[in-house]
Amino acid sequence: MASNSMPAAPAGYTRTAVALHWLIALLIICAFALGWVMTDIPGFTPTKLKYFSWHKWIGVTVFALAIVRVLWRATHVPPPLPADTPLAQRIGAHGVHVLLYLLMLAIPVTGYLYSSASNIPVVYLGIVPLPTLIDPDPVLKATFKTLHVTLNYVLLSLVVLHVLAVLKHQVLDRDSVLSRMLPFTK
């Protein structure tokens, strides 16, 4: 809620919010594509092992950036939706955004725990060994695998919904919703 002491709601997101949005979007697409390809490689090959490591490094990066992003979002007033946006659409938009934030955090966490449960620690960028949070456990391994995969399909569905909503605003409503999040337009 904007209080009196806060400045009036801006017309667009801050540069930081825009940068975080697109950077995380790009990283998620890379991690998703790598995850898709690497799990289709039978057995293990040098390429597969490389993809696994890259996938995990990207996941850790997304998690760290998502935390920054959530903190930024909590401390900065976002631009308002167009005044004539119906309540149901407002709820829908915010609901999807909240779920996307949750998944940006939950998907890396489930992947990380899946790796820990598989007895494979994550060494960030091949340099920084990260702590294993849980002991190897074949049951948890299967659980986190399922969870990680399922949440990714949920994310895919929500991203499709998110993009369709943007198209709706851009093509049908012809309003300024997209321009709030575009870089280089200010």
Partner: protein
């Protein structure tokens, strides 16, 4: 190579004759003992455990030089925690477990290295290749229980473990550590 076939047999005969002749031969408790190999892929330490092995140890710290140690490891029992990976590692490029079902170590000399440490020199055979190695061992005794701990660094390329596309050590490092914890009762 003849030795690759006869060496394990010789080890067994040696063990049998020891059992018949020597009361000092320790009884190795396989359920409490562990032998594993730690490799690094993309700098991520990955531990695989040899689930089946046999060891014959005769050791008295008061007369270390007279001691002896032999071990034979069932290569097909190597467990990385994933059946698909285990099957692949047992294959030709890696251990070739069908052709070389056993790895072995047979000591030739034991020298005190200060305190409770000993250097055990002997012949290590993996994948039909025999190398003389010196294993640093830390010894502990409590009551009738003897424990032997150590880590032996080897290079997998020396034993032709990892051929073809795996000869490249940029993904799976050449350096491998063989780690053991042997519990025996006198």
């Amino acid at each position: 190579m003849k030795t690759s076939f006869f060496r394990p047999l010789a080890a067994v005969f040696a063990a049998v004759s020891f059992m018949a002749s020597s009361a000092a031969l320790a009884d190795v408790d396989l359920s409490k003992s562990k032998v594993s190999a730690i490799s690094k892929q993309m700098n991520v330490p990955t531990e695989g455990v040899f689930k089946k092995f046999a060891a014959q140890i005769k050791f008295d710290p008061a007369n270390a030089a007279q001691g002896s140690a032999q071990m034979s490891i069932d290569i097909a029992s190597f467990d990385l925690g994933d059946k698909m990976y285990n099957d692949q590692v047992a294959g030709k490029d890696w251990f070739d477990a069908k052709t070389y079902p056993q790895a072995s170590f047979v000591s030739s000399a034991i020298a005190p290295a200060g305190g409770n440490k000993y250097n055990v020199t002997g012949k290590l055979t993996i994948k039909g290749k025999t190398e003389t190695v010196t294993v640093p061992v830390t010894y502990a005794q409590s009551g009738a229980t003897q424990t032997f701990d150590g880590v032996l660094p080897i290079k997998r390329s020396v034993f032709n473990v990892g051929t073809g596309e795996w000869k490249d050590t940029s993904v799976v490092a050449d350096d491998v550590q063989i780690k053991f914890h042997i519990v025996a009762t006198k």
